[in-house]
Symmetry: C2
Subunit: 366 residues, 2 copies
């Protein structure tokens, strides 16, 4: 079969790779109908060595597909079921899985990040290969996989369901962590796919205003399409602070979704969030150099910082309901859909922030 | 009248000071029946110049008493009412007062901290004098003062109600910020008055285990008296990490109350809190040099950081109910009660951490 392989920094290629097989009775094999490239894959593409990636590592952790084969112990899904795999593998039964924090599963790991979660051995989640391929082995399938609701199971809905694997769940996590509620004034920093999804999540949770700050007019247009009430291109305008203050009656936003979580954007969030407000941070930028907290501001302002890697699996029951009810539709973040032969070029599209691009889907079977 | 005055670093004295008077129709004058010295007063005592204090500044922000005189616009309390003043002055009507974050009141300020909240002028909260005195002017009395429930209004209950002005409210804020719930495993770092109150607050909120880490066996005994299920003197034992892991079934505490919030204690909290857990930080230590956040741990562990200066006024309705029902009794933190003549020596008692001392009350009328 074919899959995307990391060759070197700035070089991903589609190659012939080994077919996956059941290695443990808890495994399933999924035939991938649609996959996508994530901002965190771009971190690998741009800084692979910093994360321990070597030539030959397979990548990808966002995919939906059809169960092709199941191990004897899976039980929860069967051959032919349309399924979604959150990017994080989880056993479903440990303390953390039970409390809805599947990203801290004691046996967990992440598809397509082997160098960061090396592990190995039979049934070990950490040894799994990337999902940007035609088939993928899913360890602990009973815990990891979610059956896609019947009304959304047709392949024609893949562009709607696929973002729930990671990017929408991550935006939703940021919205929850930043305590978005009915009537909230919300700012989203970042017009990438997580920011756009965060904006839509905030509206779905009842936010009154959602202002997206970004650097790309084309993406800010998509933000509006996805429910943002206001957008500011902070490259060409310096009124973001004034605008969000005005929108909140002079006190600043209740919630800031720090989609990128760079030091600069976190500082902006601290400087502008309302006293008693919360910053929901979910961006991997913090791993490359996190912000210093201005503790005096945080102390007198009672600012909450909450976030981290999104436990998507725990959110799926409510996200399926929202998707079925038409309250959310994250498909506009998928601006491209590439056949397998062209899939590697999706990295260039995303890395160059090509006009009109946000996020690239891949159709591995075509 | 007499009040405690900052003379120089390490030198507080009782002096004759000006009688307060109504300066604004919203003011009240309170005859103080009991006041107390706070850990933040010790910061003034030890580092006064760092906070801008000069010889002659009056101190004190924890007091209960009887209304002696009211301005024409007060309305909510009258002469003879037994009242409690939270340490933070608040108008009661602005956006932040209405949402229960009175410490961010747009007109607010803090008793006894004039150099940090200089302000001035008629009715300005920032110009108020300290509460460690026989009488005190309370600006915006309608917003600031809470009438003490009748069953607790007798002076004999002052030692129970007085800690609600600040120290118990602060411990309670830390417990709420660290998301203590029924069945939680909680660690409290610090055996000062805030830590001890935090432990009691956590139990009152339903915590299953509350482990207090401190440096003083005598204070840890009081922690037990106030509801701590476990205590560790971390000066003489190095098993705190193991113990709290064991108590939580191997996963670490759900909640850490960082009563001191020093860089070291915040690091311990980050290293030991359970993934998905929360750290409630309320200590002024962060203002003298806050911790660096280990962002990778916070990211993969989804650790929430919440806290700051406690909006005591907002918590009072529930705290009065708890106090009336006997669910809390913070009086054990008040280990001393000094007459006005001896009151300044209370600073030495607290600063030296004299055996058997936690917190000093003052009886200004005796």
């Amino acid at each position: 079969m074919r899959g995307i392989v990391y060759k070197a920094q700035g070089d991903m290629q589609v190659e012939e790779v080994a077919d996956p097989s059941i290695q443990d009775p808890g495994d399933a094999i999924v035939k991938v109908t649609k996959a996508s490239i994530c901002g965190s894959d771009l971190h690998i593409y741009n800084h692979g060595e910093a994360f321990g990636f070597e030539c030959g590592c397979r990548v990808g952790h966002e995919f939906v597909g059809v169960v092709e084969e199941v191990g004897a112990d899976v039980g929860t899904v069967g051959v032919g079921d349309k399924v979604l795999a959150p990017f994080w593998i989880s056993c479903g039964s440990c303390h953390f899985c039970q409390k809805g924090l599947q990203t801290s599963c004691v046996k967990g790991g992440c598809f397509g990040f082997q160098p960061m979660f090396p592990g190995g051995g039979e049934g070990n989640a950490e040894a799994v290969q990337g999902g940007q391929s035609q088939y993928v082995r899913v360890p602990m399938a009973a815990g990891t996989l979610d059956r896609i609701p019947e009304s959304l199971a047709d392949d024609s809905n893949d562009m709607k369901t696929l973002p729930l694997t990671d990017v929408f769940g991550t935006g939703y996590h940021a919205a929850k962590c930043s305590n978005v509620q009915g009537g909230s004034n919300v700012v989203v920093i970042g017009d990438g796919a997580v920011g756009l999804c965060g904006a839509q999540a905030a509206r779905a949770l009842g936010a009154e205003t959602v202002t997206v700050l970004g650097h790309h007019d084309d993406r800010l247009q998509i933000a509006k399409q996805m429910g943002a009430t206001h957008v500011v291109n902070t490259k060409t305008s310096d009124n973001a602070g004034e605008l969000v203050k005005e929108l909140s009656g002079g006190v600043g936003p209740d919630s800031v979704i720090a989609a990128i979580s760079s030091a600069d954007s976190m500082k902006w969030a601290m400087d502008n969030v309302q006293p008693g407000g919360a910053i929901g941070w979910v961006g991997m930028e913090v791993l490359l150099g996190g912000p210093e907290i201005p503790w005096d501001q945080a102390f007198f302002g009672n600012v909450t910082l909450a976030g981290g890697v999104a436990p998507v699996k725990g959110y799926l029951p409510e996200l399926w309901e929202m998707l079925k009810a038409g309250k959310i539709d994250p498909s506009p973040v998928l601006t491209h859909d590439l056949a397998m032969d062209e899939a590697a070029s999706g990295y260039e599209v995303m890395a160059s922030r090509e006009e009109g691009s946000v996020k690239v889907a891949i159709s591995p079977q075509s």
